[in-house]
Symmetry: C2
Subunit: 248 residues, 2 copies
């Protein structure tokens, strides 16, 4: 019941920044909301049944795309943030032996199908491209950065992604992540993450307190870490169109 009243704000913010959406498309998104489903925190998502080649759109909540090793080690391959797309497990993921964990309660609904060449189709394509780019970031982060760099880099990514959905406030954002989850994403021990976090704070790079992360100077950090342009799909229409053109 409650979920039907949730706003599609973050979601439409994001998709319409990724591509130009027509009024009917926006309406279809708004209406698809009524088919929303939800799962409680700490459960594993099982979407096999309702296969949907467009995936699902996450209306609210945070999820983690993860893989477990036989001995219990866990690696979070990617986070899925409000407004983003939940990849369909029936797809590649099935034989990639990964699963999706609800970090918080989740509300999501099947992504409305997009006509070939439509704005929505472009937005989906851009979304897929972003996921790929984020995977590359992740590999580089894990392979070649030390603890502090990994932390800053991931925080930066989360900030940029939340900004795209309009869920950040300036240089800070709210997060439901525990240090343990964050550690599983950056390939560190919770203990070592904690200490490195303190080092970051001491150096004035970032602040993480009571569910809020604040970056002191995202632009500087991004430059140091070699991250490409802060947000590829910025606020100006020109840049939007540029990005869209590149994806097409």
């Amino acid at each position: 019941m409650r979920s039907f009243r949730l706003s599609t704000q973050a979601l439409t913010n994001r998709l319409s920044r990724l591509a130009d959406l027509s009024a009917p498309e926006l309406r279809s998104l708004h209406e698809a909301r009524t088919r929303a489903d939800s799962v409680p925190a700490r459960t594993e998502l099982q979407l096999d049944g309702k296969a949907n080649k467009c995936g699902n759109l996450l209306l609210s909540g945070w999820a983690a795309h993860l893989r477990m090793l036989p001995d219990g080690r866990r690696q979070i391959v990617a986070f899925i943030l409000p407004g983003e797309t939940i990849p369909d497990l029936a797809d590649a993921l099935a034989f990639a032996s990964t699963s999706i964990l609800a970090i918080t309660d989740l509300t999501f609904f099947p992504a409305p199908p997009a006509a070939e060449g439509s704005g929505l189709a472009h937005a989906y394509a851009a979304s897929r491209a972003l996921v790929l780019a984020q995977l590359f970031d992740n590999v580089t982060r894990l392979g070649r950065m030390n603890a502090q760099e990994r932390i800053c880099d991931l925080c930066l990514e989360l900030l940029e992604r939340l900004q795209l959905s309009g869920l950040a406030e300036g240089n800070s954002f709210a997060t439901p992540l525990t240090q343990e989850l964050f550690a599983d994403a950056v390939g560190l021990t919770p203990v070592h993450l904690n200490r490195s976090l303190q080092a970051c704070r001491r150096q004035g790079e970032l602040l993480w307190r009571s569910g809020h992360i604040t970056l002191h100077s995202p632009a500087d950090l991004a430059r140091q870490l070699g991250r490409r342009k802060p947000h590829p799909f910025a606020d100006t229409a020109d840049e939007m169109r540029l990005a869209e053109a590149r994806i097409a």
Copy 2:
């Protein structure tokens, strides 16, 4: 001149294991060979001009998809093996700020377009799914495995991929990789890679000598490391069809 005489064997092996290809499709692959292009080793690929949404097919040679950090650190995000697809830089890769390095001389040609729903389209889709799964593997490898495990896991991946193209001989394969390149893929120092390699050999896990890597017991290793089924697209038609169905 020479390149025109290269066999499409590896390539057709691979694609026809990923999906059922019709005779005309096989012919189109064979003919597309005449549009082959090549680049010398140690050069960076620039494919922007000849954008092709299907990408290029690598006829021969090894390439590395990599990212550089501002201070010169290098991370190889993925290898591209003979018979596989070279992703199009005009795509996601452009704004992912990665580049493609020719490890050896390369010969490749534009992938022939595939009709919607055709076997070739399925093969391309399966190929894309495999790339994604390999990225997940890579993340897990870098985030949660120690040096020896990373080495074995990557060798295992390379073996499985080369088997798919019919380029492996039993449990061993030829590779043009230097230890430095391998180190850049598994996120280790060349020095430490070397030592860990010796440890692997001492424990009878694998042998790497004069451009040939041999795994002692791939199946056992795979189980230990939690790798999904040895090759998702095995030799039996049943398994092929199964895999194909899942992708579709």
